[in-house]
Amino acid sequence: MESSDNVYSLYKCRLLRVYSLTDEEKLFLLRFEDSDIAESWSFIPGQFVQVALPGVGEVPISICSSPMRRGFFELCIKKVGKVTSMIHKLQPGDCVGIRGPYGNGFPMDEFEHSDILLIAAGIGMVPLRSVFMYAVDNRWKFGNITVINSARYGDKLLFRKELEAMRDIAEAENIKIIQTVTRDPEWPGRVGRAQEHIKDANTDPKNSCVAVCGPPQAYRSIFEKLIEAGYDPNKIYVTLERRMKCGVGKCGHCIAGSSTFLKYICIDGPVFGYYDIISTPGLI
């Protein structure tokens, strides 16, 4: 990124495309106005950026595209608050301010040469899509891949169509895509929570890295099922969400954990390992 001595400086990004994914989520394709930044800017799957609209505010948003695709990046944004509501009103051609990327991201080097199991519940698919796309872009580095994408209703499954469209290629590439819903009687496909489909993954529990993202209350039961199925707890990672104002370990809103393990989610996370989670009250 262009050098600025102010870590809170924002860099202008133009929206190239805007897609509606569900009634609440939109996918934005962005490019830095400064072409040097646009071409050199990179990130690790699991990292996030601060998105700013002058006059409205700033919010942390996970990047959901693959870092292999230079020149642009994608953000999937759910309309929930003041800033995201205003972002949803934007059209291609409009600009936002971006700073980052921030956070540790998933340890992709460690994921290499292993099978990858991605488990997403609801909006949890957003950061995991980045991992998935990265793995697809570097297909030769990884073993078998399974994505379990879950939501309450079929029309709430994020990236549902994209994942469906990939099915044929996926099969040829040893990638298994499982999409499941919990409350939709109309849904023709799989039903039940994400963890109930772990047994159908094409990944070898003895040689897999697992990335999980979903609502905090889902984690314990996902962990149980994973360990029951023989996955190595040391190779289970989750990514967490908090309120953040700075993204750089200052403002304190994302501080979580306990007195022996106090962490700024923004710089020490948002990705944490299984043992960090189970030994630290307050992280999830």
Binding site: Y8, K250, G252, G257, I267
Partner: protein, 347 residues
């Protein structure tokens, strides 16, 4: 380390000289019982013997409320508005306050240095002063009652002046440029320094160690103490605002009525406020008053590893300035000690 003596007769002169290095701020009596750092207009107002200030020294480095940027809503340009920070002299910090600033350094000058903090920190000359504890102080338990670094000069009280420790290059320069008001340290001064230190140690109400406290705290999250004490809490945030290491801030965009301009400001926030852990969509990571109450105990007793000390420096401000009379230290001791036994180390 370099040591010098400042004789009583030269104290006013010393204050005058240091104010040549920038605007001078020092503890002053602001009301019947309270002290606070204020700009020194009259050196006779400088208070050498005070226990604590109602606003911690952090206010000079992280102002309670300040502007970060001005922005143009039409072009999306953000312009940084902090001008040059003029040099200033902060006189009269106690050891715990200096450790507190070093903790803030660790946070604000990490791999993402905060420019607003860094500029003020660079501009500030820090002059420490020795103190005697009152019943609220427990810096000894936090091992922050004596500082090795983090100051330019540190003054230790003697019966006839101050023994000065020089703690930085800037400190050496100040001393070198004003040698005429300093003397060499005599054997008597050394004995008096030792006497003062002994007296200081003897005055602490509690002794022992708090090093294992963070583990005990973690193990006792279900203690009924948290219900009882949080019940008294007003959620007013006085504890965090007066804490020298509490550093949470909030950011707000203030658009102008013209719809074209505006500014981004930041101001002190507190984990005791409901919105602190609230995310868009309504989930709150610290939903109840009790959650927020415990959060402060957890956060303050966690270790700041670069310094090997807890985020709490034992200054006693949160207890002294609590309108509900909640005693932070007593609660920690209750948590630490064996149920049913008399408080360990109480004198």
């Amino acid at each position: 380390m370099r040591y010098l003596k400042l004789g009583s007769r030269n104290i006013d002169e010393f204050l005058g000289r240091i104010s040549n290095y920038g605007d001078l701020y020092a503890p002053q009596k602001i009301s019947e019982k309270f002290y606070d750092y204020r700009k020194v207009e009259d050196i006779s107002q400088v208070e050498f013997n005070y226990n604590r200030t109602i606003t911690p020294a952090k206010k000079y480095f992280i102002p309670p409320k300040h502007e970060m940027f001005e922005f143009d809503m039409e072009t999306g340009e953000y312009t940084e508005t902090m001008g040059d920070v003029k040099p200033f002299v902060l006189f009269g910090l106690h050891a715990c306050s200096i450790v507190a600033l070093r903790i803030l350094d660790g946070v604000y000058l990490n791999e993402y240095p905060d420019k607003y903090y860094a500029a003020r920190r660079k501009a500030g000359i820090i002059i420490g002063i020795s103190c005697l504890p009152d019943e609220y102080c427990f810096c000894n338990l936090r091992r922050t009652d004596f500082v090795d670094i983090g100051f330019d000069l540190f003054l230790h009280e003697l019966p006839d002046g101050y023994l000065i420790r020089v703690g930085s290059e800037r400190g050496h320069e100040i001393v070198d440029e004003n040698m005429d008001i300093f003397e060499e340290v005599s054997n008597d001064d050394i004995e008096n320094f030792k006497k003062f230190e002994k007296k200081r140690h003897e005055m602490f109400k509690y002794e022992g160690s708090f090093d294992n406290l963070r583990y005990i705290l973690e193990l006792t999250e279900n203690s009924p103490l948290w219900d009882e004490e949080s019940e008294k809490c007003l959620g007013c945030g006085n504890c965090t605002m007066t804490c020298p290491t509490c550093r949470c801030y909030d950011v707000q965009d203030l658009p102008d009525i013209d719809g074209k301009h505006g500014k981004r400001i930041r101001f002190w926030d507190s984990c005791q406020f409901r919105s602190h852990g609230l995310v868009a969509g309504g989930h709150n990571f610290r939903e109840t008053k009790k959650d927020r109450f415990i959060n402060r105990y957890v956060c303050k007793n966690a270790y700041f590893y670069p310094l090997g000390t807890s985020y709490c420096v034992g200054c006693g401000n949160c207890t002294y300035f609590c309108p509900a009379g909640i005693d932070f230290l007593k609660n920690l001791i209750k948590i630490r000690d064996v149920v049913g036994e008399v408080a360990h180390g109480e004198q």
